[in-house]
């Protein structure tokens, strides 16, 4: 089997092709946003256009099958548009208001953890641990899982005085300098 022609130094694809039309239209023209529930917010543009965002937690280590499942959900409700946050959450970008309720219902039914928006504990940034680093003094994913099982309500419902950002590093290298 022959391979396609490799290219070098092309850099990442330009982000614009991944932006939903309502974002492309309102780039830099957002007016305000409202947090509707811990996993749902709406951004409103100067001209009145709206985009809804539903946020779900991810364990960061994702199998390709899970990514395909997430992609299917994005196809069904978001015209295929989605993004990831700097804290490894998945954000479904919904342009059509009539999809806002159904996507939350479907995500709940499929067992996704919805939340992380507003004054709560968001997802935990962490390093690689025993899953694939040579210098790990401890595991990272396991620690995060055990910790967030305990703090689960602070992601999904409970409020705190401000946002809380937790992070785990498995050696002083703090690779990627977790934040």
């Amino acid at each position: 089997m022959s391979l396609p022609q490799r290219k070098t130094d092309i850099g990442p694809p330009h982000y614009e092709q991944f932006l939903p039309p309502v974002i492309k239209k309102n780039l830099g023209k957002w007016k305000y946003h409202e947090v509707i529930n811990p996993g749902l917010m709406v951004h409103v543009a100067e001209g009145g256009d709206k985009i809804w965002t539903v946020r779900v937690a991810s364990p960061r280590i994702l199998s390709t099958d899970t990514i395909r499942e997430i992609s299917d959900i994005a196809d069904k409700f978001c015209g295929g548009y989605l993004r990831f946050t700097s804290r490894n959450n998945v954000e479904f970008l919904i342009s059509d208001e009539k999809n806002v309720e159904p996507i939350q219902k479907e995500l709940k039914a499929k067992g996704y953890t919805i939340g992380g928006i507003g004054p709560r504990i968001s997802n935990v940034i962490h390093t690689q641990g025993w899953v694939h680093c040579h210098s790990a003094c401890t595991d990272a994913s396991g620690l995060v899982k055990a910790m967030m099982d305990e703090l689960y309500d602070y992601f999904t419902t409970k409020e705190l005085p401000n946002k809380v950002r937790l992070a785990v590093a498995c050696c002083v290298n703090m690779c990627g300098a977790v934040h």
């Binding site: 092309i10 830099g28 946003h33 280590i61 548009y81 993004r83 396991g142 899982k145 990627g176």
Partner: protein, 402 residues
């Protein structure tokens, strides 16, 4: 289809509980991949013995690049043959981590063909990380991805993959086009990104405002943070709406302002803009009532890094205000000068922040052509370590002042 090879009673515990489980993800991949299957076995063993079994070492990569692939091997190849090689491949993410389902499926299809089916979405630096493949597959993986428009990210002593907040795409607070700045800088430094030639790593992160959603101030050698020069515009009727909805404006806004420059008498809110440090607190709490106005740009801060080797640093101000408009020529030239100075003055594995502390701000500022300013003082009574030279004193004496 491969059956589960290893008993994993300890990892099974981590499938319980409500939070999404990474063990379930590895199991999902293990159905199709021996590599993922043996990953499970080895991680379980690590849980039992409380140590890791991965080895670094051996230069692996793709032709013409010095980075983007991290070589990884198990030290127990007899016990876990599936992870004899477990190299990771960094794919440079699009600005702001926006994707389409089509793009993600394309990434998955290629990865299932050559690798374990496991990913990190995303690595802390920003890349989309593919976990676990062997040396022979690397060229094929690179050809498949690059021919479809995906390139490798940085690793080693090089420019690391820059990342940014989503900025203008979905945030009313962004003062700059973080997405485009990030894209342009990544393109500008392709050579430095793919062919490690620096003393150590160099990271650039861009946030549209001081809320700093990508934590650039804590984890980038160069932190670009959007800011403004005009006044904060106040919509007094919206202020009243917040008050009516139960916001205690004096407690939550006025008293929390770090420079104490807001006043509110129950009717009218006033801000002494000359004293405002543009921290974003009031704006983030009262987004409908307050917005920045006037000239937009960014503050450039430098130096943050993790504890290794001599202690952690947070970035501090180098350029108080810079306008950032395409094609970002001034910014690109400034970054090149910063890197040149760092390269000339550092020992291997010294990050630029450490070198500035060792050599002093003066040498750095003179080289990059930025004037000293009070904004560069990290905090009150911490001087910006400027060393005076003989000619400075001569200048003063010649003026006949002393």
């Amino acid at each position: 289809m491969s059956k589960k090879k290893h008993e994993t009673p300890m990892l099974d515990e981590l499938k319980k509980g409500p939070w999404p489980s990474f063990v379930k993800e590895i199991e999902k991949a293990a159905v199709k991949s021996e590599t993922a299957n043996d990953t499970l076995g080895q991680v379980e063993k690590s849980y039992r013995t409380r140590r890791g079994y991965w080895k670094h070492g051996g230069i692996v990569g793709v032709l013409g690049y010095g980075g983007g692939v991290i070589g990884r091997y198990t030290s127990l190849p007899e016990e876990f043959p599936g992870v004899k090689f477990f190299h990771t491949v960094r794919i440079n993410q699009p600005s702001g981590w926006f994707y389409t389902s089509k793009a993600l499926r394309e990434i998955c299809d290629i990865w299932d063909k050559y690798g374990s089916g496991l990913t990190n979405i995303h690595g802390s630096t920003g890349d989309l990380v593919l976990l676990g493949t062997n040396t022979e597959s690397l060229e094929a993986i690179f050809a498949e991805y690059s021919s479809r428009g995906w390139d490798l990210g940085g690793s080693g002593s090089a420019m690391r993959t820059p990342s940014c907040c989503l900025g203008p795409a979905r945030c009313e607070w962004s003062n700059i086009n973080t997405l485009e700045i990030n894209y342009q800088l990544t393109q500008e430094f392709q050579d430095e990104l793919h062919r490690p030639a620096f003393p150590y790593k160099f990271k650039i992160k861009t946030s549209g405002c001081a809320v700093d959603c990508v934590a650039s101030i804590a984890r980038a050698d160069l932190s670009i943070i959007g800011t403004w020069r005009g006044k904060i515009q106040i919509d007094q009727s919206e202020v009243q709406n917040y008050a009516k909805k139960g916001m205690n404006i004096n407690a939550e806004i006025v008293n929390m302002c770090p420079t104490q420059c807001i006043t509110y008498d129950g009717k009218e809110m006033k801000i002494d803009d000359a004293e405002c440090s543009r921290c974003m607190h009031c704006i983030a709490k009262m987004t409908k009532a307050l917005r920045p106005s006037g000239e937009r740009g960014a503050t450039l801060l430098m130096g943050s890094k993790a504890p290794i080797v001599v202690g952690s640093l947070l970035s501090w101000v180098i350029v108080p205000f810079i306008k950032l408009e395409p094609p970002y020529k001034e910014l690109k030239e400034l970054i090149r000068k910063m890197i040149e100075w760092w390269d000339e003055n550092s020992k291997p594995r010294e990050r630029i922040g450490e070198v500035i502390e060792i050599k002093g701000m003066r040498s750095f500022l003179e080289y990059i052509g930025v004037p000293p300013s009070p904004a560069q003082v990290k905090w009150p009574r911490k001087d910006p370590f400027i060393f005076f030279k003989d000619e400075d004193f001569e200048k003063v004496f010649k003026k006949g002042k002393y």
